[in-house]
C-alpha cells in the first residue's frame, strides 16, 4: 500500500466505549464516520449482475472531533471495518475515487461484483450507529437472492 494512502481501521464491539478509529496506526478521534455505496442496479432500480462495476453513487468521509475541521476523505485509501459479527474491508486506490475501481471484502471474501448497497453511519453527536450491506447473488437454478447483512 502506498505510504501516502489513508489506511483507516474502525472497530466496534457494539457500544461507544469499544468503538475506535485509527488512521495509519494512530488514534483518530472523530465525530462521524459515513460510508454510503449505492450500486449494482439498472435504470429501473432492479438489481443486476456486476456490482460496483456497474457504477453508482458513493459518499465516504470522516468528520474529525476537533471543531472547525472539515470532512476528511477516506479514499484514495483503505478502511477496515470490524463489527462484532462481521469484518468489511473497502479499498480504492484511484486518485479520483472512481467507484468502479472500489473493492469490497466481506469476511475476507471479495463481494465487489455482488454489492448492491453498503451503508455505515456512525454519528457520535447524534448518538446514531447503523451499518448494513446488501449483496445480489444470482442463482443458476431457483430464485436470485438479495441478501442483507446487518452489521450493527
Amino acid at each position: 500500500m502506498n505510504e501516502r494512502m489513508n489506511y483507516f481501521i474502525f472497530s466496534t464491539g457494539g457500544d461507544w466505549d469499544s468503538t475506535s478509529l485509527y488512521l495509519n496506526g494512530e488514534n483518530f478521534p472523530s465525530q462521524r464516520l459515513l460510508l454510503e455505496f449505492e450500486t449494482g442496479r439498472d435504470f429501473n432500480g432492479d438489481p443486476r449482475r456486476g456490482g460496483l462495476s456497474n457504477g453508482g453513487n458513493a459518499s465516504c468521509f470522516v468528520l474529525p472531533e476537533q471543531t472547525g475541521a472539515g470532512e476528511w476523505a477516506i479514499f484514495p485509501g483503505k478502511i477496515d471495518l470490524e463489527f462484532p459479527t462481521h469484518k468489511v474491508t473497502i479499498e480504492n486506490q484511484s486518485p479520483t475515487f472512481a467507484i468502479e475501481l472500489t473493492r469490497v471484502w466481506l469476511d475476507n471474501e471479495e463481494v465487489s461484483h455482488q454489492l448492491l448497497d453498503l451503508q455505515v453511519d456512525i454519528d457520535a453527536i447524534e448518538n446514531r450507529a447503523s451499518a448494513y450491506l446488501t449483496l445480489y447473488k444470482p442463482r443458476l437454478l431457483g430464485a436470485d437472492e438479495v441478501a442483507t447483512y446487518t452489521l450493527l
Partner: protein, 206 residues
C-alpha cells in the same frame, strides 16, 4: 443490454451452424447437380442431335466435332458412333451418365429412389429434403448429435443386406432439438444475463 447480447450471440451461433449446414447441403446438391448436369447434358446433346439432324448432316458434324473432345473422350466416341448410325431418326436417344456410380431412376429428382455409391457401399436415397442430411451423417456423424445442424433431425442411416438406407426425418428428434435449443438459450441467459428478474428472494443475515 447483456441479455440482448446473449440472445444475439445465440442467434449468431444458430445462424452460423445452420448456414454451415446449408452450405454443406448445397455442396451435397452440387454432387447431385453434377449428376444432373451429366444426364442433362447428355439429353440435350441427344435432343440437339435429333433436332438439328433434320437440318443437315454438315451442320451437326461441324458443330459436334469440336465439342467432342471437350466432353468425355472415350464415351463420346462410342456414343457418337451409335448416334451416327441413327442420325436423322426422330426417335429419342438415351444417354448414360458420365458418372458410372450414379444411376438415376426415371427423371433426375422425380424418381422414387436414387442409388448412390457411398464409401464403396450402395446407398438408397429417396432424394427428399432430408436425404442429403441423412447421407451426411455417414460422413460426419457429429452432425447427428448437434441440434443446430439439420442432420440432427434425421434418423441415422441403417445397413441392411449390403445396402445403406437413409433414415429420413425424425419427429422425435425434432421435439428433442427444440427442447435442447430452448435449454441452451435459457442457460445462456441465466449465466450471462443481467439478472434482476421478478423471481428474487430477499433474505437477512446478522
Amino acid at each position: 443490454m447483456k441479455r440482448f447480447l446473449s440472445l444475439l450471440f445465440v442467434l449468431m451461433l444458430t445462424t452460423a451452424f445452420v448456414g454451415e449446414a446449408f452450405a454443406q447441403r448445397s455442396f451435397g446438391r452440387g454432387g447431385g447437380f453434377g449428376g444432373g448436369r451429366s444426364s442433362f447434358g447428355g439429353s440435350s446433346r441427344s435432343s440437339g442431335g435429333s433436332f438439328f439432324g433434320g437440318g443437315g448432316s454438315s451442320s451437326s458434324g461441324s458443330f459436334s466435332r469440336p465439342s467432342a473432345p471437350s466432353y468425355s473422350g472415350p464415351r463420346s466416341s462410342s456414343s457418337f458412333g451409335g448416334r451416327s448410325g441413327s442420325f436423322g431418326n426422330s426417335g429419342r436417344v438415351n444417354s448414360s451418365s458420365i458418372n458410372p456410380n450414379r444411376n438415376y431412376g426415371g427423371s433426375s429428382y422425380g424418381g422414387n429412389r436414387t442409388t448412390v455409391i457411398y464409401g464403396g457401399q450402395p446407398y438408397y436415397s429417396s432424394g427428399g429434403f432430408w436425404s442429403g442430411y441423412a447421407l451426411g451423417t455417414m460422413g460426419s456423424p457429429w452432425t447427428h448429435y448437434m441440434p443446430f445442424h439439420p442432420g440432427f433431425y434425421t434418423y441415422s442411416p441403417y445397413y441392411s443386406n449390403g445396402v445403406y438406407y437413409e433414415g429420413g426425418f425424425s419427429f422425435t428428434r425434432f421435439i428433442i432439438g427444440i427442447a435442447l435449443i430452448i435449454f441452451v438459450i435459457w442457460l445462456l441467459i441465466r449465466l450471462f444475463g443481467g439478472g434482476g428478474g421478478r423471481n428474487i428472494r430477499y433474505t437477512n443475515y446478522r
